[in-house]
């Protein structure tokens, strides 16, 4: 029983680490632009396929392909934002406020999913990577690919924290997230920061999408499947808070796994919702509130 629980905890931590990457992207966009951009799901799919092309067609190793996934997510995110979402954003006086932009992002998600389907079809695709047997230690098992994914996720998270904490651009982003009026008085270009947040957020979504695909396989629904968990992670941690998104991802990831001790696996999706309900009942602003950093 204890070994089972430890194994589930381990699985949950690995899942949480991978989930944290797109969750940071989602929350960073919310912090600056003040609307939930559900197109992270679509960009996760775009990133997964871009990385797949780099890996299987160009023969690039996983870390290099992950860079491609980030770049593709960022580029597709920026382009689609300009076409579909920018005019609706609350900060630009979109008449419908955050809701209109959020709904448009759901629609954008569907468009992107189908564009991917149009090019690559519905069938699952796998990365050109060897599948290794798991390592076993003290009754626990962990896969080399899983550990590598968790390490890559940790590296991406560290890079984001360093960027936000120690670079001028990162501080600009945090300033806009904290108080847009004050930031603009200080001469920070809101448009540039908005583009930066979108690019960073969607790039992280693309990166996260490929991380998920590395461990499993990809199809046009890859991003859509993870979107609910990403949203749950961001809300639980506190929408707009980057450390909150990381914490939220671990809560959701570990929660979904540990729930298996008491519930059949078919209820796993409900855990994300239950976590939102529980946390928001006691802490309406999420575990860490909405401080960006």
């Amino acid at each position: 029983m204890l070994a089972d629980a430890l194994q589930l905890l381990l699985n949950g931590l690995m899942a949480g680490a991978v989930l944290a990457v797109p969750a940071i992207g989602f929350t960073a966009i919310y912090a600056v632009l003040r609307f939930p951009n559900f197109a992270v799901g679509g960009m996760a799919t775009v990133g997964a396929y871009a990385g797949w092309v780099a890996n299987t067609r160009l023969g690039w190793p996983a870390p290099a392909a992950l860079a491609v996934a980030f770049a593709a997510g960022a580029a597709a995110g920026l382009a689609s934002d300009r076409v579909a979402l920018r005019a609706l954003r609350p900060s630009r006086g979109g008449a419908g406020g955050a809701l209109a932009a959020a709904i448009a992002s759901v629609a954008l998600n569907i468009v992107i999913e189908n564009a991917v389907r149009f090019v690559w079809g519905n069938d699952p695709r796998g990365y050109d990577l060897p599948v290794y047997r798991d390592w076993r230690m003290m009754g626990l098992r962990a896969g080399p690919q899983q550990l590598e994914n968790a390490a890559l996720a940790a590296a991406a998270m560290a890079a984001v924290f360093l960027f936000l904490g120690f670079t001028r651009t990162g501080r600009m982003m945090r300033a806009v997230a904290d108080n847009p009026q004050l930031a603009s008085l200080k001469g920070i270009d809101a448009g540039r920061v908005a583009a930066l947040a979108t690019g960073l957020g969607m790039g992280l979504a693309g990166f996260g999408g490929m991380l998920i695909g590395l461990d499993t396989s990809i199809d046009p629904l890859t991003g859509f499947r993870v979107m609910l968990s990403v949203f749950a992670a961001a809300v639980v941690g506190g929408l707009g808070s980057v450390p909150g998104a990381v914490l939220g991802a671990f809560v959701v990831g570990v929660g979904e796994e540990l729930s298996l001790l008491a519930l059949p696996p078919s209820y796993r999706t409900a855990v994300g919702f239950a976590a939102i309900l529980l946390v928001l009942s006691f802490r309406p602003r999420g575990l860490l509130g909405e401080r960006a950093y």
Binding site: N114, G126, D134, R141, P264, P265, R268
Partner: protein, 397 residues
Amino acid sequence: MFRPTRRAALLGSLATPFLARTALAQAKEPIRLGTLTPLTGAGGSYGPAMVKAARAVADAINAAGGVNGRRIELQSEDDETNPDAGVRAARKLIDVGKVSAILGTWASAVTTAVAPLCWESRTMLFTVSGADSITKLPHNGYIIRTQPNTELQSMRAASYLAEGGAKRVFALSAQTPFAVDSYNRLAAVLKERGSEAVGDVVYDASKTSFRSEVDQALRAKPDALFLNGYTPDVTVILRELYRAGYEGKKFTFGYAANAKMLESLPPEVTEGLISFSPSPDPGSPAYAAVKQALGTDTPDTYSCQIHDHVSLVALAVAKAGDASGAAIHDAVRTISQGGGAKIGSALDGLKALAAGQDVNYEGASGPCDFTERGDIEGCKFRFEQVRAGKITLLSVS
């Protein structure tokens, strides 16, 4: 007494073309049918070929002059392998498209959701879904399925596993309307044959990882696993099983272990996987027609089945002389079974019916004989095994 006057002649000459035109329009009123297949979602590998196969039969019939001079008009909708989307699309087909039959619903969850709309509007539903519960619905004969039901499939699967020496079988099932039914049936047949079903996990197929589910299965120490899911989730589970070092038998449905799945996985992961599927009838003329329509030597069973759906509807309409859903409902078993001449294609059948003969359609998917409830009476199964990344035929029985 009628006296021809100039006025009467004038009226008559004006009215004649008008009358002729309405009569002509009635004769040319098309037979409206809808395909509702998964073009996207977990079943998205199958829907597009199904539509192509259905269209090919309709085109062939239309090119030969239609059914009693009426063209078949095929409308195609996507059910997204999702019950909500399926219901929306079925509403459109029934209310806007005015179809008299819906053909090809694939996922059992979609068929279950769409079925009440069909029987309430007297629209025939031809499906390829397997869940037992579907034909147990109060459909009053408005459902016909060409896919063997879960009961039949699970019994065959269980006896195959038991004959192959499996003693402890565990089932990993995606959450579908047939997950529980098929496990119970599997367990019963295994027990009769001296083997044992040691447990099952029903998982949520929309998750990205199934590590913990696989752990749970392996804890029961099975020597055979029954993977009762769809391609995307079975793909992930096979990876997990390899990683976990599982060396026992792996058994799944043919629709999950398709060629595309094998392409996406390294050969060592899929090695030894046994799959089974209802076998089409490779000797039939209808099967040859499906091969030609799809440009492949190995058309999938669903394309064969929807080919038969269109053929059955065309023959039923010809027999009844009426294209309403109720007419198809009443006539379908008079052309699918019984003592009539065995015919292997809709075109031959239409000719025979026009000549006043009785027909018994035998299709690409099999004999197409239906029970009162709408299930097929029997069919063959095809067992295949993956060896070095390629599907090889074990047996058809």
